[in-house]
């Protein structure tokens, strides 16, 4: 395999970004070329592993007793997704130091006495000397699992030689192995996901991904991790060159419980739940807030969604209307409902299914703490932020940023006569410059005003009764439950999840040329009861998912090196 990087990888520090910059492989494919598609696909994207993907791969390869021992760089969100931002993310020198640190820590654990018998399948002839055969065996297998493809002969030879030299100098076979393993773990082949085109499949400038790139795209899409052994074998033996072979793998992977990991990763990304990790609240105003409750709120929303889209394989739109959720005792204090925890004092809190009454405004994920608290200010709610989040996150609509000279004085004046957010916003949007955008956001956000900045239910603000009526396009409602119903009934909500899912899988927003494919997926989504599992299966088995155009020669890759 002859990989041609768009930009050289000049050492560990100062790694440059590579976006969709791979030229087709010169290797040939003996299998069929896959089904033809009616549109011109976009270019492949090189993506930095997300922290969760990094953890998953390490866990898959070395087990869950190996600690990472480092910190990840912040992720980058583009077009609504971290999965898209990953195609724009670079590695700073500090970030590379962290990757280096983690690679050394992980490699140390793999070769230590507690793990080596389990993780290194061969034993050296002598522990204080090189053993070429054993080093070769370990590095070949481990490299394949880490990179998601076999190492080239040259790559493997370099790593084995390094291990042998290290073992000789240090008089320790395992220390030599440690050097090579740490090197692989800080390699761009591990830290990035590359996609390569198969030259032989070219038709009118459209290529199939090569088999290992297909395996990688499929595996990260469904399981949010590198391909497992079965999938790598399928790539090696040509199974992924046929639609039937891909379908066989998709069915296998979707039958695995690991599909839930993939679904969780997708919805965490789509809903921006990662941002909860950095959510802060004023502890004087919201004394119940702490980081454990914040984490619980994220898990609550994921469990709510998984219950519908995975366990029940139900209608996606129900996530906006369901009265059923899952709570810990901690969250019970936010929602003011009794949640019994039978765990021992100090033990982890148990999750309990809880269904709100049919007339309760608490219905659907929009009414949950993860949404209303995240899209609020540290010390108060925000109908505007909440409405903006509904537009941008759930409906994939763009809300313009406020003008630079916007006057917030009326809104922020603590001595202003307006007691409620509705009154303050009404005064604020008297300014026609502000009114345009606020009309897009506030009618929805005001329907969530019964939830304070932390998500607890309230009926008044500053002693004045809250009016939680609102509207979304042509729908009018009186409270949050009505808002959830309106979102569920909005065609934009279902279009949005399809767009996000396709973007998530491709690592980029679909091109205009690809919109017919997306439209087809919309029809299928509707015809299959808005099943997210079915949608994933449709995407994963569609030949379009594995095709790409070559980057145009005049499109220069990014060259910044910070």
């Amino acid at each position: 395999m002859n990989r041609k990087f768009g930009i050289g990888f000049a050492g560990a520090v100062g790694l440059a970004l590579v976006v969709g910059s791979f030229l087709p492989s010169t290797e040939t494919s003996a299998a069929d070329k896959g089904a033809a598609i009616s549109h011109t696909p976009g270019v492949p994207v090189t993506r930095r592993l997300s922290p969760q993907q990094y953890r998953s791969v390490i866990r898959d390869v070395f087990g869950d007793t190996v600690a990472l021992g480092g910190r990840f760089e912040p992720e980058l969100r583009r077009d609504g997704l971290l999965a898209v931002g990953a195609g724009y993310a670079s590695v700073t020198s500090t970030g590379m130091q962290q990757f280096e640190s983690m690679s050394r820590a992980i490699a140390s654990q793999v070769v230590d006495e507690a793990h080596r018998d389990l993780l290194i399948s061969c034993k050296p002839k002598a522990a204080n000397a090189p053993d070429d055969a054993c080093a070769h065996q370990f590095l070949e297998r481990t490299g394949r699992a880490l990179y998601g493809r076999p190492l080239t002969k040259e790559e493997l030879r370099v790593q084995v030689n390094a291990a042998n030299m290290g073992a000789k100098d240090l008089k320790d076979f395992y220390q030599g192995l440690w050097l090579s393993l740490a090197s692989m773990l800080s390699s761009p082949d591990f830290l990035f996901r590359y996609e390569t085109l198969e030259k032989k499949t070219e038709k009118n400038g459209v290529y199939d991904l090569d088999a290992y790139s297909k395996a990688s795209r499929l595996s990260f899409f469904l399981w949010n991790s590198r391909p497992d052994e079965d999938l790598l074998k399928a790539a090696a033996n040509g199974d992924l060159d046929s639609s039937r072979g891909i379908r066989r793998q998709v069915e296998r992977m979707m039958a695995s419980s690991r599909i839930e990991e993939g679904l969780r990763a997708f919805f965490t990304d789509m809903l921006g739940l990662d941002e909860i990790d950095a959510m802060a609240k004023d502890s004087v105003i919201y004394p119940k807030f702490d980081t454990m409750i914040a984490q619980d709120s994220k898990e609550q929303t994921l469990r709510t969604i998984m219950n519908i889209v995975y366990k029940q394989n139900g209608d996606y739109r129900q996530i906006f209307t369901t009265p059923t959720t899952f709570l810990t005792r901690r969250l019970g204090a936010i929602y003011n409902v009794p949640i019994v925890n039978n765990a021992a004092n100090g033990g982890p809190e148990l999750w309990r299914e809880y269904t709100f009454s049919p007339d309760d405004p608490r219905a659907g994920i929009v009414s949950q703490m993860s949404f209303v608290a995240l899209h609020s200010h540290p010390g108060r709610s925000s109908p505007t932020l909440r409405g903006k989040a509904i537009r941008e996150i759930l409906l994939c609509q763009k809300v313009p940023a406020p003008p630079g000279n916007v006057d917030f004085s009326l809104f922020n004046d603590p001595n202003a006569p307006n007691k409620t957010a509705r009154e303050r916003l009404t005064a604020h949007v008297a300014n026609p410059v502000c009114a345009g955008c606020h009309k897009l956001t506030d009618p929805m956000g005001l329907a969530l005003e019964n939830f304070d900045g932390l998500g607890s239910y309230r009926t008044t603000e500053n002693g004045v009764e809250i009016d939680a009526s609102g509207g979304l396009d042509r729908s009018q409602f009186t409270n949050a439950a009505g808002l959830g119903k309106a979102v569920a009934e909005s065609p934009a909500a279902t279009t949005c999840v399809i767009n996000r899912m396709v973007s998530y899988g491709l690592g980029r927003t679909p091109d205009r040329n690809e919109m017919p494919w997306v439209k087809d997926l919309e029809k299928q989504f509707s015809g299959e009861g808005y099943s997210v599992l079915k949608l994933m299966e449709r995407v994963a088995t569609d030949p379009a998912f594995y095709k790409a155009s070559a980057p145009k020669p005049n499109v220069a890759p990014a060259t910044s090196t910070n």
């Binding site: 502890s283 004394p287 119940k288 005792r329 204090a333 409902v337 009794p338 019994v340 925890n341």
Partner: protein, 386 residues
């Protein structure tokens, strides 16, 4: 602060069910549970309620008591100097710990406080103190206080009178005395939480109510600022040793216990291991922020209190003041339950300030195996009124 504002919406079916399971009356249709956030002696320190100022610092008390044991002044000076300089720890500890004398031999003064002559420490002389008229003598009782909140006269709170001139016991309802603050802050996150439930037909109106006190199976959950978290769910410990039911009534927005029985509550042994209060009284009010405050009191065995003060030994003494002195203060100010042989009162009137936040209290789920038989109550129940 008035007893208003309980919303039907916040009353859980579960907590009502819990009450019904624990002998709530048939009319109880509304209930609200609370977890105790703070529990402290109800102090009402005034600038002038200790004649000539408060009791002297601990080192002065030690010096005086060492002399009472027959130690020479120069020796006592050396012990106190070393104590203050944190030197010769073993010798200092031995001298202070074993400053009691029995048949001329040194004995542990914490276990045997009667082996040291009464150092005659000061007690409170003021007339303002929180509590209740327990003995019914009213204004005619020369030892009694007048409650600064209710203005009731004849209030019996001899515990406050006994210890109120020691630095560690001085404070107010807003600023609890250091000793009580320290004890409760130390134990509340590591002992089963205390629960209070009030139930009645309509808790926003005057009328009969029922108070139920229990321990929870869980420890108190606190906010990041350290205060108890509201709206958390607690399971009620079925152990009868901490289960109490009292009849009461809401009058003019304040809820009172009207049937004055015996109150019992287990506590972490760092405090009073078993709180026993006879002739139990309580008044309770709800604050605007939904929290609850109460003054409660009655008669409790003063040797239980002494144990709570003394069982930490010398380290505890640094926060209480001279334990031998406290022993004699408690003994001399005890005002109930006279020993039929000696006439010495065995109980002392006391009052406590309690703060609590609204929570859910629910019955524990049925055990999968038979629960162990409850262990007999430590020390037995408080004797009935004589």
């Amino acid at each position: 602060m008035v007893f208003r504002g309980i919303q039907l919406a916040v009353i859980s079916a579960a907590s009502s069910a819990a009450l019904l399971a624990f002998s709530a009356p048939a009319y109880a249709v509304e209930s609200q549970s609370y977890v105790v956030n703070w529990f402290a002696g109800a102090a009402n320190t005034q600038p002038d309620n200790c004649v000539g100022g408060i009791n002297p610092p601990l080192e002065d008390q030690f010096h005086k008591e060492l002399l009472l044991t027959g130690m020479q002044p120069v020796q006592a000076d050396k012990v106190i100097k070393d104590y203050l300089n944190n030197e010769n720890g073993h010798d200092v500890d031995t001298a202070i710990r074993y400053r009691g004398r029995y048949n001329g031999r040194p004995v542990n003064v914490f276990n045997n406080p009667q082996t040291i002559p009464d150092p005659k420490m000061k007690a409170v002389v003021g007339k303002a103190g929180y509590g209740f008229n327990l003995d019914g003598k009213g204004a005619d009782d020369p030892k009694a206080f007048q409650d600064p909140e209710t203005l009731e006269k004849g209030v019996d709170n001899q515990l406050f009178r006994a210890v109120g001139c020691l630095e560690g016991f001085r404070g107010s309802l807003a600023n609890h005395p250091t000793f009580w603050y320290w004890i409760w802050q130390t134990i509340r996150d590591s002992q089963p939480a205390w629960l209070v439930t009030i139930s009645g037909e309509d808790l926003t109106k005057d009328g009969p109510v029922t108070f139920t006190f229990d321990r929870a199976l869980e420890y108190m959950v606190s906010n990041s600022g350290g205060e108890a978290r509201a709206d958390v769910t607690y399971r009620i410990d079925p152990d009868p040793r901490s289960h109490n039911v009292f009849k009461g009534e809401i009058k003019d927005g304040v809820a009172y216990v009207t049937e004055h029985g015996n109150f019992k509550m287990l506590q972490n042994s760092w405090g009073v291991p078993e709180l026993n209060i006879r002739n139990f009284h309580m008044r309770m009010k709800i604050n605007k922020d939904r929290s609850m405050e109460a003054i409660l009191g009655g008669y409790q065995p003063w040797h239980h209190l002494y144990f709570a003060f003394a069982h930490g030994g010398l380290s505890r003494e640094t926060s209480t003041g001279s334990l031998a002195g406290i022993y004699h203060l408690l003994k001399s100010n005890a005002d109930a339950d006279p020993d039929p042989k000696t006439g010495q009162n065995r109980a002392i009137s006391s009052s406590y300030h309690m703060k609590a936040v609204p929570v859910f209290a629910v019955p524990p789920e049925p055990p999968k195996t038979a629960p162990p038989k409850p262990v007999a109550s430590v020390g037995g129940p408080v004797p009935a009124s004589r």
